[in-house]
Amino acid sequence: MEKDEIKNIIEVLLFITNTPISLEKFVEILEVDKENIIEALNELQKEYQNKPLMINEVAGGYIMSSRAEYHTWIKKLFKEKITYKLSQSALETLAIIAYKQPITRAEIEAIRGVDVSGVIETLLERKLIRVSGRKETLGRPLLYSTTPEFLKYFGLKDLGELPPWDKFVSLSPEETTQEIQNDNYNE
């Protein structure tokens, strides 16, 4: 297949999709080698540098988005449809789920010390988290995990892009206890 044709097909697919397309998916659809896909994607991304749209790598695949500088026009088009930003309690809950998934509501509440049922409802509604099963303990509570939408929302390629949980050491002043030190230097 001609290189330009590969690029065209990829461009069309990226234009039409609303979920990230993985390299494997491109290979499957175009039936060419992964190297050809990567090359075409790189060239496309370069070409798009001068356009109002861009090709991003998020949630384990590629997807097109608008460039930030055009947000005002988009917001005018959608007016009230623009979603609100996440609240502090939603962010804290999401952070715990992102790092400790799959996790039950009670386990989240044990960390945050507050009831999180309302927050979980909102996060489920916004498809940032999903029910990923049940924990095989008393009462078989639901387990929650993050979704590809979560990665998309925060612009992450995958969960590995998040720094490790133990890197978050902010406590002033003497969190230099043995325990935490060990955690940090063991990596």
Binding site: T19, M64, L94, V131
Partner: protein, 241 residues
């Protein structure tokens, strides 16, 4: 019924008792592994008093923490003996561990917030897509009975006594399995006729239970008490869907 005095204040300053505690620790520059429980309990209670005063909702969680702090305080005042120490983890250590965990959560939330800020003006094409994979929770027997009750209550009452039609459960099982020929799932409800017939309803339900028991189908739902979908458990002959 709304009275002026009965207002509730939603204070977003503290996300909960852990947040307040962490704030007090940071404010007073306290070593988290050497918290002066008496001091922090006193300060914590002062805040709780203020919250009570302004009729803050969700004060309950703060009161639970206050009780816990007072309990730890009481324990630390007791003379320490060898036996006592073996009773379990030091409650102060446990509290410190939780505070560290919560502070990490807050830091992680801060990071997510920064990502959110970075992404806030970037838009993707978006249409809600229905995802079959959302049906992943195995429905329990209780869920199935609940769904069965829903189907019964929704069914139209039979106008006249129908002629007694005997269907062996084996036939019903085959009938249900045949529904999966070209489809990946069948809604639980569609197995039942719209008009109520006690016999058919019960045979159908028993057939579903039998199919689940023999692992030929699985009943799954998106959430507890949600709609139930039946999925054929893949065997060698229907892998090519």
């Amino acid at each position: 019924m709304e009275s002026v005095c009965q207002y509730n204040v939603k204070l977003d300053i503290f996300e909960g008792p852990m947040d307040l505690l962490l704030y007090l620790v940071e404010k007073n520059d306290i070593d988290i592994y050497d918290i002066n429980i008496s001091e922090i309990t006193r300060e914590f209670l002062e805040y709780v008093e203020i919250m009570k005063f302004i009729n803050l909702d969700s004060i309950g969680e703060f009161l639970i923490m206050a009780a816990r702090l007072m309990e730890i305080k009481a324990k630390t005042l007791l003379p320490r003996t060898e036996e006592k120490q073996e009773e379990g983890p030091d409650p102060r250590e446990e509290l410190a561990r939780q505070l560290v965990e919560y502070s990490k959560c807050k830091e992680a939330a801060k990071l997510l917030k920064a990502y959110q800020e970075r992404q806030k003006d970037i838009f993707y094409r978006d249409m809600p897509l229905f995802n079959f994979d959302e049906y992943i929770i195995e429905a329990s027997l209780y869920d199935l009975i609940e769904a069965f009750r829903r189907v019964i209550s929704r069914a139209e009452p039979a106008i006249k006594e129908l002629i007694f039609e005997e269907i062996p459960i084996e036939t019903k099982i085959r009938e249900i399995l045949s529904l999966f020929q070209n489809r990946s799932y069948v809604e639980f409800e569609e197995l039942f006729p719209t008009v109520f017939n006690k016999y058919i309803f019960i045979v159908t339900f028993l057939a579903v239970l039998e199919l689940i028991r023999t692992r030929q189908i699985s009943a799954r739902q998106r959430e507890s008490f949600g709609k139930i979908r039946l999925f054929r458990i893949a065997t060698t002959e229907n892998n090519n869907v």
